[in-house]
């Protein structure tokens, strides 16, 4: 039988007590850390590179290469940041890992830090994740007591410790440089790139920033080997990834799926279909900043290459299912209210663009829009995508841009009467 979900990195979740380090150690936890110091940093980096692990935060940058950049830098000190500011609406998979298996993350952070020569790590965690913060605080304390954190870890001479840092609830602080500014005590607004964090991050020192899921995957790769990890997935996307399934499905939740699974399989096999036998209206992938696709496209397979070929990005792995009771424009409006609120206000396109989009969208919803509104809307969306300072403004228009492509009729209804549309288009 085809396996729709796996447990390479979620194996402990729900099985061990997240408040107890012993419970983790009994499953073989921290064995990798004990053995790691006998290895060369290059070996570890090579193993991660061989696993083809890519950043699970959304950008999909090769993790091994990123670690190598920091490893090769001569500037010290170097920092590690675990990006746990999971603010993208529709995503809750990092929270799942943090609340169920905190030590796996800590272990991953120790391995990555040892490989890159880092002695100080931060977990930048979303302020609303109170439970996870409590669990992490306890886990870090226990790891220190057992000698996995602090000075001279396991007698190796390697020092590494972790500090938890929580933001004030700004979505933009998930952007790596806004996050770094926030850690430095400034308002969370992005910086110019280049230089990238790997060369000038926290206090302009080399900084390795990775998502919770990415770092949590590292212990498996080092323990079981890259070969085992890459035996799962597709030729162009290796291993597993966590999917946050939400919306109008019978079974919502976090699923660890092998790459290559189709959106249809996620919705119908893992999610057990749509309640009350309704039909899918649209599926939003990745989160609020991700593309909206029509039901005709759900045979799309979870694969970096396949997504790219369709002009889509996978983002952080959310799958949000909307059934046919809903009006697409209402959903989009909700998304734009979010971005209008969360823009940091630094650059013109994002600061000014989101509110104009929202205003125009309101006219479509009120069915008072004009053809000029449609062309203005398309102009702002494209300009924001092309010219915004950071990923927030570049991705904010994605939902509407894709909706305009796949659900154009819904927009036209905001301008014309139904009987006029045939003549108009």
């Amino acid at each position: 039988m085809k396996k729709y979900s796996l447990d390479l990195i979620t194996g402990n979740c729900g099985k061990i007590d997240p408040y107890s380090i012993d419970s983790y150690i009994e499953t073989g936890g921290y064995d990798t850390v004990r053995n790691i110091f006998a290895q060369d940093c290059e070996n570890i980096i090579n193993e991660i590179k061989k696993s083809d692990l890519r950043g699970r935060g959304g950008a999909g940058f090769p993790t091994g290469t990123k670690i190598e950049f920091v490893y090769k830098s001569d500037i010290t000190p170097k920092f590690l940041v675990c990006n746990a500011d999971e603010g993208e609406p529709g995503n809750f998979k990092d929270r799942f890992l943090l609340e169920n298996d905190p030590h796996q993350l800590i272990e991953g952070m120790i391995i990555a830090s040892y490989a890159a020569g880092i002695s100080k790590g931060f977990i930048y965690i979303r302020g609303e994740y109170n439970k996870a913060i409590g669990i992490l605080e306890k886990a870090i304390e226990q790891a220190r007591q057992k000698g996995f954190l602090g000075k001279n870890i396991c007698g190796s001479g390697f020092d590494f410790d972790i500090e938890i840092y929580s933001g004030a609830g700004a979505y933009v602080c998930g952007e790596e440089f806004a996050l770094i500014e926030s850690i430095e005590g400034k308002a969370g607004r992005p910086r110019n790139k280049p230089p990238y964090p790997v060369s000038a991050g926290i206090f302009n020192k080399p900084t390795l920033i990775n998502n919770v899921e990415t770092l949590s995957t590292i212990p498996f790769i080092i323990r079981e080997g890259a070969e085992k990890y890459t035996s799962v997935g597709t030729p162009t996307s290796k291993g597993t990834r966590l999917v946050s399934l939400s919306g109008n499905v019978n079974r919502r939740g976090v699923f660890e799926v092998p790459f290559g699974i189709s959106i249809r399989e996620i919705i119908f096999n893992l999610g057990k279909g749509i309640p009350h036998g309704r039909r899918i209206k649209m599926v939003q992938l990745g989160g609020a900043s991700g593309p909206c696709i029509p039901p005709e496209m759900i045979d799309l397979r979870l694969d970096y290459k396949e997504f790219e070929n369709n002009g889509l990005s996978m983002g952080a792995g959310a799958v949000i299912v909307i059934d046919d009771r809903h009006d697409i424009l209402d959903i989009l409006r909700n998304i734009m209210v979010f971005f209008r609120h969360e823009s940091c206000g630094k650059c013109t396109p994002c600061r000014e663009g989101n509110r104009h989009i929202l205003n125009i969208l309101d006219r479509f919803i009120a069915k008072t829009a004009t053809e000029k509104d449609l062309s203005t809307l398309e102009s702002i969306l494209n300009v924001m995508t092309d010219t915004s300072f950071c990923g927030l403004g570049q991705a904010a228009p994605t939902a509407i841009l894709t909706a305009l492509k796949y659900f154009r009729y819904e927009f036209l209804l905001g301008i014309y009467k139904e009987y006029e549309i045939k003549n108009a288009v």
């Binding site: 600061r351 104009h356 092309d386």
Partner: protein
């Protein structure tokens, strides 16, 4: 330096490695429009106006922040770029109080310029501006949030150059504002009124309080005898308002222009600059002889006085009690000049032309009223305001014939001219103090150690066997370093000149727009050129000053001069929170 090959708008050029696309384009004769970019500031890249298209890149990068790479193929005017640039400018305008015809910055506005350049003729976006209160609380500067485009230049100037940090970006998204802490009025925060923010603002979001109409009213009032004084720095900068080369010395034209405006007498603040040197020099010698508080700090710069009153009141005894040249002039105009001409004080209207916005505040100080009733200086116009006033009057500055200042406050020295540049007061004082103390004639009048744009400069002089160390600081972040040094007790200087603005008065907050450090250097060069051209170069050799003492003041730091030419300071420390 390595050079690389790039292609801009179909032309292959080689440019130095590491420069930005903006710089590379400029070297190829292409001026990419910019708004938040300022050559003396960090790259902000937040306005996104200077975007370009680079082949192979998914997005349109901002040219101010993107370095050229070998083989880059750049288009600065592709359809995509033109459309994006126009959309961005239209969005800025949709949130901007674009009453251009009534705006201070009409024709000098950077936003207006790029909007015109981009061919914005209509705006597809609805106006989303929410009108907010204009902050008129200080006599010096006005903050109009309805014009602000959130570029952050003022914030950087206030924080990094002046080290005051009283305005900051607050909030986020479309609610973002650049305001003083807790949204207070400028008068309620520790703003020193230096106006440096206004020199870098690309629009009219922060500007000098305009007093032109008040001056017109006085000029056109037959009952008023209106006299004007011009600060040293104005003569090397006002020409820029009329398209002249930066650093043009236009003293004679300035005098002529002021007469054409209708001033009854045109005088020179340089005269009281010389007087300042006599008073301040003697005060220094007095402090040295009587064991007074040292180091002594200069007191000519009103922004600097505001700074020390607000931030370091405990060090006020170090500040010379001399009024600034502007206020010495005002005091003499409303006493000596009134008595000499027989014109009652109430009929004399004194106007100053200053490179400075803090001078407006200084003139309004209650202690600056010799008779206790009438302000010694009635109105202060910045260099920029004078430029606008001359344009209102239709005066063609360029073809004016040069004229001379009026007597008695028109005879000046080179020592007074250099007050306009950082280090000038120090150099002028040294020329006089040396000769007074040693009784010898100074062979070399130029003290190069105290000149130029370096933040803190120092020199050592031999005064009849006593070695005296002096220092010069400009911009308040440097002033702060000196204050901390004094507080630490490790300060070895005897005499310190502090100017509030970078470069001294030639870089003042009321100087022509588009001031850059390069322009400051050119104005400084002009100041020293003017010094060399004047036959008398030492303040104590000014015959008119000598005559004033003989005739009226009797002696330096005497009773009369104490009453007219000296002042006092009080702590104006602002609470951090209320």
């Amino acid at each position: 330096m390595n050079t690389i090959e790039i292609t801009i708008n179909n032309k292959k050029i080689s440019v130095p490695e590491g420069i930005t696309i903006l710089e590379a384009a400029k070297s190829a004769g292409l001026e990419i429009p910019t708004l938040c970019y300022h050559i003396d500031q960090s790259v902000k890249a937040n306005c996104r106006v200077c975007i370009v298209e680079v082949e192979g890149m998914k997005t349109l990068p901002s040219s101010c922040s993107t370095a050229v790479r070998p083989g880059m193929v750049i288009h600065t005017n592709s359809a995509k770029v033109l459309e994006a640039r126009r959309v961005i400018i239209e969005m800025i305008l949709a949130n901007h109080d674009a009453d251009c015809l009534k705006c201070h910055r009409n024709l000098s506005c950077e936003l207006q310029k790029i909007a015109n350049q981009a061919g914005v003729r209509t705006n597809r976006f609805e106006n989303v501006l929410e009108i907010k209160e204009i902050d008129n609380s200080t006599p010096s500067i006005v903050r109009n949030p309805n014009k602000c485009i959130k570029c952050g230049r003022c914030v950087e100037m206030c924080r990094d150059v002046q080290g005051i940090n009283i305005i900051e970006k607050i909030g986020r998204s479309s609610e973002i504002e650049i305001i003083p802490a807790y949204g207070r009025y400028l008068s309620d925060v520790a703003c020193v009124s230096c106006g440096q923010c206004s020199t870098v603002c690309p629009v009219a979001a922060i500007y000098e309080k305009e007093d032109i109409d008040m001056v017109w009213d006085a000029i056109n009032d037959p009952g008023k005898h209106v006299i004007v004084q011009t600060a040293p720095a104005v003569r090397v900068s006002i020409g820029e308002e009329f398209g002249m080369e930066p650093g043009s010395i236009v003293t004679g034209k300035l005098v002529a222009a002021l007469r054409r405006l209708g001033f009854d007498r045109v005088f020179d603040t340089n005269f009281t600059a010389d007087l300042t040197i006599i008073e301040e020099g003697n005060e220094l010698l007095h402090r040295l002889e009587t064991g007074g508080v040292l180091p002594m700090l200069t007191s000519c710069s009103p922004g600097w006085i505001n700074f020390i009153e607000q931030y370091y009141p405990e060090l006020l005894p170090h500040v010379s009690t001399c009024k600034s040249p502007q206020q010495m002039f005002g005091a003499l105009a409303k006493s000596y000049y009134s008595e000499k001409t027989g014109i009652p004080v109430r009929n004399i209207f004194v106007v100053s032309i200053m490179p400075c916005t803090a001078k407006k505040y200084e003139a309004k100080r209650p202690e600056m009223r010799t008779d206790g009733i009438h302000p010694d200086v009635d109105a202060v116009l910045t260099t920029r305001e004078l430029g606008r006033m001359l344009k209102q009057a239709g005066i063609d500055f360029n073809i004016l014939e040069e004229e001379q200042y009026d007597d008695p406050f028109g005879i000046t020295t080179g020592a007074a001219v250099i007050f306009g540049a950082s280090g000038g007061v120090m150099e002028a004082a040294l020329r006089t103090v040396y000769e007074v103390v040693t009784g010898k004639t100074l062979d070399k009048l130029d003290f190069h150690d105290v000149r130029g744009m370096e933040g803190i400069k120092e020199a050592e002089v031999d005064l009849a066997g006593t070695k005296v160390k002096v220092a010069v600081a400009h911009s308040l972040s440097n002033a702060r370093k000196i204050m901390e040094l004094i507080k630490s007790g490790k300060c070895e200087y005897t005499f310190i000149e502090v100017m509030c603005c970078p470069g001294g008065c030639i870089g003042g907050g009321g100087q022509p727009y588009h001031t850059t450090n390069e322009l400051r250097r050119k104005r400084i060069e002009a100041i020293y050129e003017a010094d060399r051209d004047i036959p008398i170069r030492k303040s104590h050799e000014n015959p008119a000053v000598k005559a004033l003492y003989d005739e009226y003041l009797e002696k330096p730091i005497g009773e009369k001069s104490h009453h007219l030419l000296h002042t006092y300071y009080i702590s104006r420390k602002k609470r951090a929170c209320s």
